[in-house]
């Protein structure tokens, strides 16, 4: 098993195929099998057809499978090729994985619109959206091999089977390896479309669901895994931008001549919101950046103070006029009027920052004639796989080649390609010299795009027998779905539900942040449930059990998590457990066990138990890794992370002022139980993170009787609550 992240384009493809290039077409395109000994014919075919080239096979039986998704740690470099290899019955030990070219028409997964295609690694959709595509393509590859063997041996296709890279004819006890079939490959007359029921029975999976090591991990332990910031090209120069810490402000550079006279400085490039400097070396560019004297204009954000805004948000929530309704089930007004008791709680969420460990960067080279460009980038890609470069440079999309590199973390930040566009502008100025653009950590934070600050006002109604009859969920904040998503309850049987969003806007840059609205909204929902449970003297798990009665899958995660955590068992002195449920494609229940240092206000999380139903699990160990990472990132944001704005200016600038969770604060254990299922796979990357706030606050309530209602739960806030 080996891996390369070497770029492939069609020319290289031609050169590197030693045996036969096997192109397997999906979506009704026939496979094209052309001997490489006839390169002209291959070139013609490539010109003529839009081929979906998922796999390449050599006479030695070596396979290269192409991964169409970004790899940012979630494991796409293994999971998608593994699904393909499963249906192809490939010998996994002979598989190499490479990134596919960034061509959505060929390599795109299901887009937002029916029939559309998209290469966009967001929303935990990778496995979910490529599962069927990869299976079908793998089955077609297998079919091509089987028909070749049938012809070669002159036996009926139906008598053949395939296993682990071999075609077998049991009747005559013959076997032939895939590689050995290369000289006999032909294009079949027709290629079955392979409906779901013609694919393997998941019970027969040999690769999916097994413990398979991730393909790219060796390169990540010896330093050879290549990130965009690692690219070095001949004649490359360095670009940096000063963007200030007041979003939307316009710069006026007052010492241009002084900067231009500095060592190594090649050019100053003004942007609407920034001043760019290009220099021969990175250190020269950074030196010059430090010396820039810039007068900044005021902006929409001027005068805005994030920590004082909640009073205004509460007033917005008080208004009688509803905001934009996103969910309406039954009649919440009626439930309120007929309730035997009503609970109302406000929840607050400060801004958080992505803090992906690799600050943003890109390398772009624009050709001398300005008619083509090459881009090296770690991107979650986008609706435009050429990442906005063609429009910006006024060139054709096919003239832009994107070389996708590993991402040093994405978390939603790299699904916006502002940094690629910046680099393209600088590269155009310097054409044909390549430009490496580096964001410093300070740039990455101060000009960050944050999960919005928000206020959730929740109201629950119960009837005389303590049934929850209604839930009204009002979200106040900037950014529409960025704050309002994740407030639906599809698995709690609450007959009357209303979710509405009320806008407030401040001119602060905002973005999807791992699990998006689910973080704040699940925090609010799960805490509200425990508030009801405590007041009604119902066990929090019992309360949820009742609510999940009509959703057996959700209920199974609850039961499993309760069992794993020994929910009803004895608790150590000074500790308490809290529960929270999250649906984010996959369904998960989490239970944490915490204690609190009442002098410092520091919350210690000792254990986290999760039960997850994600349908078919492609890589179980990797799903567990996603749960572990999701919980740690959740804990980090819930216990520590906070961006604050004063007079419109971002107050944090590096990891000294924006603290992340460190090793000393990790739990003793994060244990995940995966519920067996043959359902279509659901995303897992964003299910754990939004459990954390609710589970911790609920454990805290049971431990202390006090309420944590404002994220993050910093020691100061915890002390304040304890002393209230």
């Amino acid at each position: 098993m080996s891996i390369t992240s070497k770029r492939i384009d069609r020319r290289q493809f031609l050169k590197s195929s030693s045996g036969v290039a096997l192109f397997i077409g999906v979506s009704g395109i026939l496979p094209q099998l052309i001997s490489c000994k006839e390169p002209k014919k291959l070139a013609e075919q490539l010109e003529k057809h839009r081929l979906t080239a998922w796999v390449q096979l050599t006479e030695a039986g070596e396979l290269t499978i192409y991964n169409p998704a970004a790899e940012m740690g979630q494991g796409s470099m293994t999971s998608l090729p593994l699904i393909f290899a499963e249906e192809m019955d490939a010998d996994w030990s002979k598989v190499k994985v490479e990134f596919s070219p960034q061509e959505a028409e060929i390599y795109g997964g299901e887009g937002w619109r029916p029939g559309s295609k998209l290469m966009f690694t967001v929303g935990s959709r990778t496995t979910n959206s490529y599962y069927s595509t990869m299976r079908k393509a793998g089955a077609q590859a297998r079919y091509v091999l089987l028909t070749a063997a049938a012809d070669h041996w002159d036996v009926p296709l139906s008598e053949l089977s395939a296993t682990n890279g071999q075609v077998v004819h049991q009747k005559t006890n013959r076997e032939i390896g895939y590689g050995a079939l290369v000289p006999f490959l032909k294009m079949p007359e027709t290629l079955p479309d392979f409906a779901e029921d013609q694919l393997k029975n998941p019970k027969d999976f040999r690769l999916i669901g097994k413990e398979i090591a991730r393909t790219e991990i060796p390169a990540k332990v010896d330093g050879t895994a290549q990130f965009a910031c690692d690219i070095r090209l001949p004649e490359m120069v360095y670009g940096v931008l000063e963007r200030g810490n007041l979003h939307g402000a316009k710069p006026d550079l007052t010492n241009e001549e002084e900067i231009l006279a500095m060592d190594g400085v090649l050019k100053i490039v003004p942007f609407d919101y920034a001043i760019g400097v290009i220099a021969k070396t990175l250190e020269q560019a950074l030196d010059a950046k430090k010396q820039l004297r810039i007068d900044w204009s005021k902006s929409q954000a001027s005068g805005y103070n994030s920590q004082q805004i909640y009073a205004e948000y509460q007033k917005i929530a008080d208004r009688r006029q509803k905001g934009e309704v996103t969910v309406e089930i039954g009649d919440v007004g009626n439930a309120l009027r007929s309730a035997s008791k009503t609970y109302m709680i406000d929840f607050k969420n400060d801004y958080v920052y992505h803090a992906q460990m690799e600050p943003l960067n890109a390398v772009v080279q624009v050709a001398e004639d300005l008619q083509s460009a090459e881009v090296w980038v770690g991107s979650q890609q986008g609706p435009d796989t050429k990442l906005g470069v063609p429009g910006l440079l006024g060139i054709l999309p096919e003239k832009v080649t994107v070389h996708l590199q590993y991402l040093g973390g994405g978390f939603g930040r790299r699904s916006m390609n502002d940094f690629v566009e910046e680099c393209a502008v600088l590269a155009m100025e310097m054409a044909p010299r390549p430009v490496k653009l580096i964001w410093t950590r300070k740039d990455d934070i101060t000009y960050g795009t944050f999960r919005p600050l928000s206020l959730q006002r929740l109201q629950a109604t119960v009837d005389a027998t303590a049934n929850i009859t209604g839930l009204s969920h009002c979200v106040v904040g900037d950014g529409g779905n960025l704050v309002a998503s994740g407030a639906r309850n599809d698995h709690y049987d609450i007959p009357n539900q209303l979710v509405e969003w009320r806008e407030a806007t401040h001119g602060i840059r905002l973005k999807h942040w791992r699990s998006v609205g689910h973080g704040p909204n699940k925090f609010a929902i799960e805490c509200l449930l425990d508030e009801v449970a405590m007041d009604q003297k119902i066990d929090p798990v019992d309360l949820r059990r009742k609510l999940m009665a009509k959703s057996p899958k959700a209920l199974a995660t609850l039961e499993k998590a309760a069992e794993l955590s020994d929910w009803n068992g004895p608790v150590k002195e000074g500790r308490a457990k809290g529960v929270a449920f999250v649906e984010h494609g996959s369904l998960g229940t989490g239970v944490c066990e915490i204690s609190v240092d009442r002098n410092s206000g520091k919350i210690k999380v000792h254990n986290f138990w999760i039960a997850l139903d994600a349908g078919v699990i492609v890589q179980p160990d990797n799903v567990k890794a996603q749960m572990e990472g999701g919980i740690i990132m959740g804990m980090s944001s819930v216990l520590k992370e906070q961006i604050t704005i004063e007079d419109g200016r971002v107050q944090q600038s590096n990891f000294d002022t924006y603290q992340l969770l460190r090793m000393q604060d990790i739990p003793d254990r994060i244990e995940t139980a995966l519920i067996a299922s043959y359902d279509h796979p659901e995303g897992v990357g964003e299910t754990a993170t939004p459990m954390v706030a609710g589970a911790i606050a609920n454990a805290f309530l049971r431990l202390t009787g006090k309420r944590l209602r404002h994220l993050p739960f910093t020691p100061e806030r915890v002390l304040e609550v304890l002393n209230s």
Partner: protein, 157 residues
């Protein structure tokens, strides 16, 4: 500009850079030793951790002139010939990395830990590794990998 001779992974490298240049930029941009990563530039994240005379250091705050007097610098590229240092093997066994960006720094720090203290306790590991951030949250697997490498398979809890 001045010329400095650096002893990196037992090879002597000459570089022409200005005095005070960060060793991290020298390694990454001038010499192409890109396994060492930039994460913060102020000794807060540890992505740039290397060894100088066997001591783990943050390359981002080392100025090139302070390590050009014969000090032996070791980066992830010099840890083993084939990525088969026992700590690297343990890292693969534990399937520790996610995005991978922080892992060179984690591994360099862990190698130094085990050299100083071949059988660290869990708490000693956490303390020693506390300066190296991992946003992907791979800490538990890093811990497991270090325990594997130390040959002390301590059960959880």
């Amino acid at each position: 500009m001045a010329t400095y001779t650096l002893d990196i992974n037992n090879i002597k490298h000459e570089v022409d850079v200005s005095e005070g240049t960060s060793l991290l930029w020298v390694l990454r941009e001038h010499l192409g030793l890109t396994g060492t990563k930039y994460g913060c530039g102020i000794a807060q994240c540890g992505s740039c951790t290397i060894h100088v005379d066997d001591t783990p250091m943050k390359a981002c705050i080392l100025q090139v002139d302070t390590v050009a007097e014969g000090q032996k610098i070791k980066t992830i590229e010099g840890l083993s010939d084939d990525g088969d240092h026992p700590v690297q093997k343990a890292w693969i066994e534990a399937q520790a990395p996610q995005c991978g960006y922080c892992q060179s720094g984690q591994i360099m720090q862990a190698v130094a830990l085990l050299k100083e203290n071949p059988n660290p306790t869990r708490e000693e590991i956490k303390t020693y590794m506390n300066g190296i951030l991992c946003r992907c949250g791979t800490y538990l697997r890093i811990l497991e990998a270090i325990e594997l490498a130390a040959g002390a398979k301590i059960p959880t809890n």
